[in-house]
C-alpha cells in the first residue's frame, strides 16, 4: 500500500525559508515542492545544513515559510492563526524526535496520553495502553522512561505520536540514537503504521531508513536535488545481513544517502545529531 494516486495529505508548494541574522541572510529552503499521499513513506536525506530539519519544521507547522505555503488536505495553512495552526497540528500531525523527548516523570502510558491529556477523554488511557501493546510494550505501561531502553523509548514516542490518529507522521532522525537492529524495529513500526493510511516523512542520515521508504528525497542547499522511488523490492527482512552503512540497495539512491560521505557546511539549524543521548 504505497503511493497511490489519491490527493496528497500534505503538500509543500515552492517553500522558501530565509533566516535573517545580523550578519547575513541564510537561505535554508530555496523553493521546495513536495507532496505526500496517505500511506506513503518518504525519506528526506541530505547533508547537514541542506535544510532537512527546516523542511520538516515547516511541514509540521512548527515554522512558517518565508514564501510559498504548506497545504494540509488541500487547505492552505499560511492563513491560519497561531492557535489554529496548533489545533491543525494536533489534529493531523504526529511527531517523533531523535531524542524521544519523553517526559521523565510520567510513565510510558502517561507519556502516550500526553497529547490528549487536557481533553479529559475517558477513553484515552485505554487507547494509550492499546497503542503501547501495538508497539510491543504492553508489559511496560507503568515504566518510566528511565527504566526503558532507547528502542523502547522511541516506541513509546511512536505510540504517543499516534494517539491523536494523525494523518501524517513526521520523524526527525528517528533512528539516530538507536543501534542498527533497534532502528530496524522502529522502521518496522513505521511500515505497519503506513499500512493504516498514515503518511510517514522521516528526515534522516541513516541509509537504512531509505530502504524502507517508498521514495527518497535528497536535499542539497535547500533544493530538491533528487526524488527517487525505492529501487526494487527488498522488503524488510533481507537487509539484516549487511552491517555496513552502505547496503547494496541503498546505493541506488543518491550518494548523499551515505552518512559518512557527506561533509556539508556547518549547519544553520543545528542538524548535527548527538548520538551520546539515549540508552
Amino acid at each position: 500500500m504505497s503511493a497511490g494516486d489519491g490527493a496528497p495529505v500534505i503538500e509543500a508548494r515552492d517553500v522558501v525559508k530565509r533566516y535573517v541574522t545580523e550578519a547575513e541572510t541564510i537561505l535554508a529552503l530555496d523553493g521546495v515542492s513536495l507532496a505526500v499521499e496517505p500511506g506513503e513513506f518518504v525519506a528526506i536525506m541530505g547533508p547537514s545544513g541542506s535544510g532537512k530539519s527546516t523542511l520538516l519544521n515547516v511541514l509540521g507547522l512548527l515554522d512558517e515559510p518565508t514564501e510559498g505555503a504548506v497545504y494540509l488536505d488541500g487547505e492552505d495553512t499560511s492563513t491560519l492563526t497561531e492557535r489554529e495552526r496548533t489545533s491543525a497540528r494536533k489534529r493531523t500531525i504526529g511527531f517523533i524526535f531523535q531524542n524521544f523527548y519523553l517526559i521523565p516523570t510520567l510513565t510510558a502510558k502517561e507519556n502516550v496520553e500526553v497529547p490528549r491529556l487536557l481533553d479529559q477523554d475517558p477513553e484515552t488511557p485505554a487507547r494509550a495502553a492499546e497503542l503501547l501493546a501495538k508497539v510491543g510494550l504492553g508489559d511496560r505501561l507503568d515504566h518510566t522512561p528511565g527504566e526503558l531502553s532507547g528502542g523502547q523509548k522511541q516506541r513509546v514516542a511512536i505510540a504517543r505520536s499516534l494517539v491523536n490518529d494523525p494523518r501524517v507522521l513526521l520523524a526527525d532522525e528517528p533512528t539516530g540514537n538507536l543501534d542498527r537492529q533497534t532502528g530496524r524495529d522502529v522502521l518496522e513500526q513505521f511500515e505497519e503504521i503506513r499500512t493504516e493510511g498514515v503518511a510517514v516523512i522521516a528526515v534522516t542520515h541513516d541509509a537504512q531508513v531509505a530502504d524502507y521508504a517508498d521514495r527518497t528525497i535528497t536535499l542539497v542547499d535547500g533544493r530538491v536535488s533528487a526524488d527517487e522511488p525505492r529501487v526494487a523490492t527488498t522488503p524488510t527482512g533481507s537487509l539484516g545481513a549487511s552491517g555496513g552503512a552502505g547496503s547494496p540497495e541503498a546505493s541506488g539512491s543518491s550518494d548523499a544517502g551515505e552518512p559518512g560521505g557527506t561533509t556539508g557546511p556547518s549547519d544553520d539549524a543545528g542538524e548535527e545529531d548527538d548520538t551520546s543521548h539515549g540508552g
Binding site: F95, Y101, T105, P115
Partner: protein, 392 residues
Amino acid sequence: MADSRDRPLDRLWRRFPALLIARRNLTRTRARSSLAMLGIVIGVIAIAALGVFGATLQASITGSLGDIGNQLVVSPAANEGVEFLTERDVREIRRVSGEARVVPVRQNVSTIDVRGETRRVTVYGMDSPGDAYEATDGRIPDPLRSGALVGANLADDLDIDVGDSIVVGDPEEGTGESYRVQAILESQQAFSIIDPGSAVVLPLRDVGGEGYTQVVVTAESGQAANETAVAIRESLNDREERVSIFELGQIVEQIGTALESVNLFLVGIGSISLLVAGVSILNVMLMSAIERREEIGVLRAVGYQRTDVLRIMLSEALLLGTIGGAVGTVFSLVGGLLINQVLLGDALAVFTPTNLLYILAALGFGTLTSLVSGLYPAWKAANERPVDALRK
C-alpha cells in the same frame, strides 16, 4: 491499568490534567520545590503567626484590663482645692448615674493588730461594699453596719479568717477598736485606684475624716461607664471643676489601639518574608522553564496551545503556593493554639474572627505571591516558539 484508574486520587488528577503534569514536574526536582515551598511556609507563618500572636497578646492585656473597664472612680478635684466630696455631690452622682451602682468611699490609713502582729494598712469606709466588691469567703452584709471586711492579700499575709477578731486603730491613743471579720474580699485583678485586696473595709462612720474621698461608680458596660462619666462631668463640673474622674475604659481603649498598630507593624514585617518567598518561586519557576524548554516545545508540537502551557506552569506555581500556604497555616494555627493556651489559658480562644482573618489573609497572600511569581516564567515558557525550543 484498571486499578490505577479506580483510585480516587488518580481520578482527581485526571479531572485536572494540568495539575497532574504540574505535580509531576514539581516532584521531579523535589529539593528545589520543597525549598521554594518552605519560603512560602515561612512567609505565611510570619504573617499569620505574628498577626495571631499580636492579637492574642492584645486580647490578654485588654482582657485583664477589661473587667474594670466599666468602673469609674470620681475623686475631688485636688488642683482646685476641693478636699472631699459632700453628701450633695454623692446625691448628684447617684442622680445622673441611673442604673449604675454608686459606692461612696472614705479612705484613711490606720494600724491593725491581729494576735499581736501590727500593720499599717489602708482603711476604706463604705456603706455598701457589696455593690462594688465580691467576697471569696464569708458574706458581705448590706448595708455594712458592724464588723470588718479584710482584703484577700492582707488576710493571706496575716492569716486572718472569717470570724477572727482584729483591732483597728492605735490602742495607745485610745482609738483602737475591735472588729469581727465578716468576709474576705476578692482582690481586683488589674490596677485600680481602690483595691480592697490589701486593705480593711469598715462601716463608713468608723473611718475618720470628712465627707468622701472617692466615689466608685460601676456601670453595666464600658460604654455605659463612658456615658456616665460624661453625665457626671456635665452635672458636677458645670460651673467649676469639682471632681476628677478616673476612667479605666478609656485607658484600656488607648492601650488596645497602641497594640493594634504594633500588630500591623509586625504583620508588615512578615509580608516582607513572603515577598522573598515570591522571588524564590520566581527563580525556581524560571529555572524549571529553562530546563524543560525542549519538553515544553514537545507539548506545543503535539498540539498544546500557548494557554495550555501557561496553565500548566501557573498550576505549578499555584501548587507551590497553596501547599506551602496550607502547611504554613497549620503551623500558625498550632502556634496560635499554644500561645492562646499560655496567655489566655484557653487554646480554643485562637478561633476569633480577627485571628481567622489574619490566617486567611496570610494564606491568600501566600497563594497570590506564588501565582504572581509564576506569571513571568509561565509567560516566557508559553511564548517560546516550539521550533526554537526543539532546536538541538
